[in-house]
C-alpha cells in the first residue's frame, strides 16, 4: 500500500467524485482487510491518516488545490466522510486484535504439565487429632493438655493404679534415669496415656468439666506394623451432676457417627480399666464392609476402637483432695480414650504405623 500514486482529478462533478472517492475507499478497505498484527495497523494508520504524509492529507491537498472554488465545499465533505470510513476501519482492525496467523505463531504446548507450587501437607496424625477435637468441640468439650514427662502419681497412682498393682504391667513404661532413690509417687516417667491430664484438669477446675486431651504418649513396647513406642491418644472427660452410663454411650455413638459416617453403629462390651467403673470397650461396625465381614474386620463386621467407662469413685477421691466438689456421691462422670494412629490408619488406609514417624516426603505428600 506504500507509495501509491496520487490520482489526478480533472472533473469535479458528482459522478467523477463518486468514482474518485470510490477508488480511494476501495483501496482503504482493501488495505484494512490485509492488516496483520499491531505494527501493521499502526502503519496503516500512518499511511492513511498521518498528519504530514498521510495519504488523505496528501490527496486532499492536491485535489483541493486543483478544484474550482464552487467544488471545494463538496470535496471537503467527501474527504471528511472518507476519513470517518478509514477511522472506522482502523477501530475495527484494532478491536479485532491480532490475526489468527500471528496468534498461531505464539502457540504453546498446553499438554505439558502445569507448574505446581508445593502445598505442604498437614500430618495425618495432626489432621485426625483435629478432626476428633472438632467433633467433641461441637459437644461442648474444650481442649486440655499436659506434660509428656509425668510423675508416677499422675500417670498411675491417682488413676487408681496402686503401687505394685498388676494393672501396671499392662503399660510398660519408659522412665527417666536416676529415679530409684526418689519416693515412688515423684518418680518421673514418659506418660503412658493422656489420662494424667484428667486429674490435672480436675485439680484446677471444679465440675462441670468437659475436656478432650490430645497428646503424644510413650510405652516401652516393641515396634511392629501396628505398634509403636510413640503414639498419640485423645482422651475425653465429662463430669457433672447426673452424668450416666447411657450418656457415655450416646456421646460416643454420636462421635463415632460424626467421625466415620452416620451409618456407623456402635456396641459396648464390658472391659477393665483401673480408672473407670463400669468400664467398656467400644466397637464400631466395620467401615470397610459395612458390617458384612471382611479381611479388615477379621470377618466379624466389627472393629474395636476405644475404651471408656464411668469415672471410678477412687479417681474422684484423688481429685477431691484438691477440689472437694468432686464428691462421688454428688457428681458422676465418664472418660474415654482412643488411639489416634489406629483411627488414622483406618481412615487413610495406612498399613504400617512406622510411616507416621519416618518423615518420608512421599508418604506425607499424599495428605496435601
Amino acid at each position: 500500500m506504500m507509495n501509491e500514486e496520487i490520482p489526478n482529478l480533472t472533473a469535479f462533478d458528482e459522478a467523477a467524485l463518486d468514482e474518485a472517492f470510490g477508488t480511494l475507499e476501495r483501496q482503504a478497505r482493501g488495505d484494512a482487510a490485509a492488516l496483520n498484527g499491531e505494527a501493521a495497523v499502526e502503519a496503516y494508520r500512518l499511511h492513511w491518516l498521518g498528519r504530514k504524509q498521510g495519504r488523505l492529507t496528501e490527496v486532499s491537498g492536491r485535489w483541493l488545490k486543483a478544484a474550482p472554488a464552487e467544488a471545494k465545499k463538496a470535496l471537503g465533505l467527501r474527504f471528511n466522510a472518507l476519513k470517518a470510513v478509514v477511522e472506522g476501519l482502523l477501530d475495527e482492525a484494532l478491536g479485532a486484535g491480532p490475526s489468527d496467523a500471528s496468534l498461531a505463531a505464539e502457540a504453546i504446548d498446553i499438554t505439558l504439565p502445569g507448574t505446581r507450587r508445593l502445598t505442604g501437607a498437614e500430618h495425618p496424625i495432626s489432621r485426625t487429632l483435629n478432626e476428633i477435637t472438632q467433633v467433641f468441640a461441637a459437644l461442648g468439650y474444650s481442649v486440655g493438655v499436659g506434660p509428656e514427662v509425668e510423675t508416677d502419681y499422675y500417670n498411675f497412682e491417682c488413676m487408681n493404679f496402686p503401687p505394685g498393682h498388676p494393672a501396671r504391667d499392662t503399660q510398660d513404661t519408659l522412665v527417666v534415669a536416676g529415679q530409684e532413690r526418689r519416693p515412688l509417687r515423684d518418680r518421673l516417667l514418659l506418660r503412658t496415656h493422656t489420662s494424667p491430664v484428667q486429674m490435672r484438669t480436675m485439680e484446677t477446675q471444679p465440675p462441670p468439666v468437659r475436656i478432650v486431651i490430645p497428646g503424644k504418649v510413650h510405652r516401652n513396647d516393641a515396634a511392629d506394623a501396628t505398634h509403636s513406642p510413640i503414639f498419640h491418644q485423645v482422651e475425653g472427660l465429662c463430669v457433672d451432676t447426673n452424668i450416666t452410663f447411657s450418656d457415655l454411650k450416646g456421646t460416643l455413638d454420636h462421635a463415632m457417627k460424626a467421625l466415620f459416617g452416620s451409618a456407623v453403629k456402635t456396641r459396648f462390651f464390658p472391659s477393665f480399666f483401673p480408672f473407670t467403673e463400669p468400664s467398656a470397650d467400644v466397637q464400631i461396625s466395620c467401615i470397610f464392609c459395612g458390617g458384612k465381614g471382611c479381611r479388615k474386620c477379621k470377618q466379624s463386621g466389627w472393629i474395636e476402637l476405644l475404651g471408656c467407662g464411668m469415672v471410678d469413685p477412687a479417681v474422684f477421691a484423688f481429685a477431691a483432695e484438691k477440689q472437694p466438689a468432686y464428691d462421688p456421691k454428688k457428681i458422676s462422670g465418664f472418660a474415654f480414650g482412643m488411639g489416634v494412629e489406629r483411627i488414622a490408619m483406618m481412615k487413610y488406609g495406612v498399613s504400617e504405623i512406622g510411616q507416621f514417624y519416618a518423615g518420608d516426603m512421599r508418604f506425607l505428600g499424599q495428605f496435601a
Binding site: P113, G140, G178, D360
Partner: protein, 715 residues
C-alpha cells in the same frame, strides 16, 4: 486361655444355647471369646478366651460356667469331691504360718501308698483323658495331671510334695538371708529376705505361690504325698515372682487374688485323682487360717447397695421399665452374692437414707471375687450382666462455653505458614542419642537421660528437634527422595533427672530444588534466603516491635555447633533469641552423608507464643500515582543490606512507601572488596500526586542516608 464347651456343659447340663450363641453372650458380658474352634462331633468347641486381668476368677472352666449360669438364669451345682474315710494319723501334720501378713490359709493333706504313674481315668467318665486330649494338654503323671486338672477346672493352684523329703512340718515364712533353693525349673536361687517361702523345719521347700522346689518334687519313687492348697497375699507373691523373674500360672492367680475358700475343694479334687491309683488319706485335712486375712477376703463386711445409685450411675435403658430391684437381685445372686433387703424408711447406712421408691440391700461378697469391694463394683456387675447394649444412647446437656488453649491460635498460625510455604508436617522421635543431644542442646548439660531407653540411639529426651529433623532428611535422601521440605511441631526437653522442663518448638529443614520447576522453568536449589523468607513469614504472624537476624563471630562460639558459622543466623525478637537457622555445618553434613547443602533451623515457640498474634489492620490505598526510583549503589563487602535498610527506615519519609533490593552483583570493574546493589524505592502520597521538587528532595535524602551508611552512587 482355652475353655472347652464340653467341660462347661458338664457343669451346666441345662445350658440350652449353642456354642456360637454362648460365645457371643459371654463376650457381651465381658468374658470375651476371641476365637471358636469346632472340635468335632460330640466334643463341642474350644473357646480362645481374652479375659481382663481383674477377672481371674473366670479364667477357668467353673468360673466361666458361673458366668453362663448368671446370664441364662441357670442353677450351678457347687463343687464337691467326696473322699474316702481317712486313716487315723499318729499326730496331725504340723503346719505353721509365721508370715501371717502374707499367707492367709494353708491346707495340707497327707496321702500315703500312692503309686506315681499314668493318671487313671476316674472322674465322671474319664474326664482327665478327654479334656486333656481336647485341650492338647500333655499328660505327665498322675501327680502333675491332678494339679493341672484342678487348675483348669477351678483356677486354684495346688502343689504336691514328696512327703518323705519334708523334715518335721511346714512353715510358711519369709526367707532368711543366705538361704538357697533349687526350684522346679532346675535353677539354683539365692533367696531374698523379702521372699515368701514354704519351708520345712530345716530348709526352704518352694517359693510360695510361685514355684515348688526341686528336692521335694514328686518322682516315680514317691509313695507318700503332701498336697498343698493355700491362699497367699497378692503383693507378697508379686514381689517374690518379680525378684526371681518368674511368671507362673500360680503367681498370676495369686497376684490377682485367689479364692480364699477354694483350697480345701482343690485339695480334695487333687487327692481324688491321686487316690484313683491306690493309697489312702492319713489324718484330717490340716487347715490353718489367719483370721485377719479371712476378714479381708472370704468374710468381708457386707456392702450397701441402693437401687437409686444403680440408676444414678447407669441412666436410661432401652427397655422403658429400666433396671428394677428384681434385676439387681437376680444378677448379684447368680454371681454368688447374698443380698439382705433393708426396709424402706430405715437407714441401712448413713450413705443411703431409703426413699419410698428406692431399695437398699446389704450385699455379702463372694470369696472368689476380690475385685468386688464397693458399691460401684456391684453396679458394674448389674450393668455387665444386664447387658451394656440394653442401655439407651442419651446425650447430656451442657451449658458451659468452650475454652481454647492460650497458644492454640498461635500454633495454628505457625503450622499454616509452613504448610503454605510448601513444607510437609512431620512427627519425629521424642528421643535422640546422647551425642546428638550434646551437639544440639540449647542449654548444654541440661539433657535428661532415660533409665530404660528403647535403644542407645534413643537414650535421652530430645533437647532439640534438630536431630530428628536431620534424621528424617537423611532418610529421604537415602530413599532417593532428593527434594525435601519438612517441619515438625513438637516438644523439647531440658532439665535434670529431678525436674524436666518441656517447651514447644518447631524445626524445619530443606534440601534439593524448589518445586516450582518444570520443563519451562529451570530447577533452582533451595538456599539460605528461601528458608529465611519462611522464617520471616512465621515471625510476621506475631506482633513484635523488634525482629532481627544476626550472627556472631566464629570465635565467640555462640553459633550452635550444628550450623555453618558463616551461613547461619540467630533470630531475635524483642532482644531475645527465638531460634537459629542456616546451612548445616559441613562436618555434620559429612557425618550424615549428606552431599547437598541442607538448610535447617529451629524456633523456640514458647518465646514466640508470648507475643500477641498480629491482627491485620487495613490502611487506605492511595489513588495517586506511585513513582519508582532505582539507585545503583556501590558498597564495601563489610556493609550489609541491614545498614542500608536501617538508614532508609531512619529517614521516616511517609511518602517512601517501599524499598527493596532489586539486585546484588559482583562486578570486576569495581574496586577490591566492593559490590554493587540496585536499590529500588517507591514514593507515593495518600493525598496528592507528588511534585517533581518533592521527589527531588526525597532522592537527595535517600542518597545522603545511604552515603552515611557506607554506600556511594555508581557513576
Amino acid at each position: 486361655m482355652k475353655i472347652l464347651t464340653k467341660w462347661l456343659r458338664a457343669y451346666l447340663p441345662g445350658l440350652a444355647v449353642d456354642d456360637a450363641r454362648l460365645a457371643e453372650d459371654l463376650t457381651l458380658r465381658g468374658i470375651a471369646v476371641e476365637g471358636i474352634y469346632d472340635l468335632g462331633p460330640g466334643n463341642g468347641s474350644l473357646f480362645e478366651m481374652d479375659i481382663t486381668t481383674n477377672r481371674v476368677d473366670a479364667m477357668n472352666h467353673y468360673g466361666v460356667a458361673r458366668e453362663a449360669a448368671a446370664i441364662y438364669g441357670l442353677a450351678l451345682p457347687g463343687l464337691d469331691f467326696a473322699l474316702p474315710e481317712a486313716r487315723q494319723a499318729a499326730e496331725p501334720f504340723s503346719v505353721r504360718i509365721e508370715a501371717e501378713g502374707e499367707c492367709g490359709r494353708f491346707t495340707a493333706r497327707v496321702l500315703r501308698g500312692i503309686a506315681i504313674g499314668d493318671s487313671r481315668d476316674w472322674f465322671a467318665g474319664a474326664e482327665v483323658a478327654t479334656y486333656f486330649a481336647l485341650l492338647e494338654q500333655k499328660r505327665i503323671s498322675n501327680a502333675v495331671d491332678a494339679s493341672n486338672f484342678a487348675w483348669l477346672a477351678m483356677g486354684q493352684p495346688t502343689h504336691a510334695f514328696d512327703l518323705d523329703k519334708i523334715e518335721g512340718g511346714i512353715v510358711v515364712r519369709r526367707a532368711r538371708k543366705g538361704e538357697r533353693l533349687k526350684t522346679l525349673d532346675g535353677v539354683e536361687r539365692m533367696l531374698d529376705p523379702e521372699d515368701l517361702i514354704v519351708a520345712d523345719h530345716a530348709k526352704p521347700l518352694g517359693l510360695a505361690g510361685v514355684m515348688g522346689g526341686w528336692d521335694t518334687m514328686i518322682t516315680p519313687e514317691t509313695t507318700n504325698v503332701l498336697v498343698e492348697a493355700a491362699w497367699f497375699e497378692p503383693m507378697a507373691v508379686r514381689g517374690t515372682a518379680r525378684r526371681h523373674g518368674l511368671h507362673t500360672d500360680a503367681s498370676h492367680r495369686f497376684e490377682r487374688g485367689a479364692d480364699f475358700n477354694a483350697g480345701p475343694v482343690a485339695s480334695a479334687l487333687v487327692s481324688r485323682i491321686l487316690l484313683a491309683n491306690g493309697g489312702w488319706i492319713e489324718g484330717e485335712l490340716v487347715d490353718v487360717r489367719v483370721a485377719a486375712m479371712e476378714v479381708r477376703t472370704a468374710s468381708r463386711k457386707p456392702v450397701a447397695l441402693a437401687l437409686s445409685e444403680v440408676r444414678r450411675i447407669l441412666g436410661t435403658t432401652v427397655d422403658e421399665d429400666g433396671i428394677g430391684a428384681a434385676t439387681v437381685e437376680d444378677v448379684l445372686k447368680a454371681l454368688g452374692c447374698k443380698l439382705v433387703s433393708q426396709q424402706v424408711g430405715k437407714s441401712a447406712s448413713q450413705l443411703h437414707p431409703i426413699a419410698v421408691d428406692d431399695a437398699v440391700w446389704l450385699v455379702t461378697l463372694p470369696s472368689w471375687r476380690l475385685d468386688l469391694e464397693r458399691e460401684i463394683d456391684l453396679i458394674e456387675e448389674v450393668a455387665r450382666v444386664y447387658g451394656y447394649n440394653r442401655f439407651a444412647n442419651t446425650l447430656p446437656a451442657f451449658g458451659e462455653g468452650l475454652r481454647a488453649l492460650p497458644w492454640a491460635e498461635s500454633e495454628a498460625a505457625v503450622r499454616r505458614t509452613f504448610l503454605a510455604a510448601g513444607f510437609h508436617e512431620a512427627i519425629g522421635s521424642t528421643f535422640c542419642s546422647a551425642a546428638e543431644a550434646a551437639l544440639t542442646a540449647p542449654q548444654p548439660g541440661l539433657v535428661v537421660p532415660l533409665g530404660n531407653p528403647l535403644s542407645e540411639e534413643a537414650g535421652v529426651l530430645r533437647p532439640s528437634l534438630a536431630p530428628g529433623m536431620l534424621g528424617m532428611i537423611e532418610g529421604n535422601l537415602h530413599r532417593d527422595v532428593s527434594d525435601v521440605r519438612l517441619f515438625e511441631l513438637g516438644t523439647v526437653f531440658s532439665g535434670t533427672t529431678d525436674k524436666v522442663d518441656e517447651r514447644p518448638a518447631v524445626a524445619f529443614g530443606a534440601v534439593g530444588s524448589l518445586p516450582e520447576q518444570g520443563p519451562l522453568h529451570p530447577a533452582r536449589m533451595v538456599d539460605f534466603h528461601d528458608v529465611k523468607g519462611v522464617v520471616e513469614q512465621v515471625l510476621a504472624r506475631f506482633q513484635a516491635r523488634a525482629v532481627y537476624f544476626d550472627q556472631f563471630p566464629a570465635e565467640a562460639g555462640l553459633t550452635p555447633e550444628w550450623l555453618h558459622p558463616y551461613r547461619a543466623a540467630r533470630v531475635a525478637v524483642e532482644g531475645a533469641t527465638v531460634g537459629w537457622f542456616g546451612q548445616l555445618h559441613p562436618r555434620e553434613a559429612t557425618r550424615h552423608k549428606l552431599k547437598e547443602p541442607v538448610l535447617v533451623g529451629e524456633l523456640y515457640l514458647d518465646r514466640l507464643y508470648k507475643l500477641p498474634l498480629r491482627k491485620p489492620i487495613a490502611r487506605e490505598i492511595s489513588r495517586f500515582q506511585p513513582v519508582r526510583r532505582d539507585f545503583s549503589l556501590v558498597l564495601d563487602e563489610s556493609v550489609g543490606w541491614e545498614k542500608i535498610d536501617h538508614a532508609l527506615a531512619g529517614l521516616q519519609i511517609p511518602e517512601l512507601v517501599d524499598w527493596r533490593v532489586r539486585e546484588v552483583f559482583r562486578d570486576p570493574r569495581l574496586g577490591a572488596g566492593e559490590y554493587s546493589l540496585l536499590l529500588g524505592t517507591t514514593f507515593q502520597a495518600v493525598d496528592r500526586t507528588l511534585r517533581e521538587e518533592e521527589l527531588q528532595s526525597f532522592q537527595t535524602r535517600v542518597v545522603e542516608a545511604v552515603g552515611k551508611a557506607g554506600a556511594r552512587l555508581r557513576s
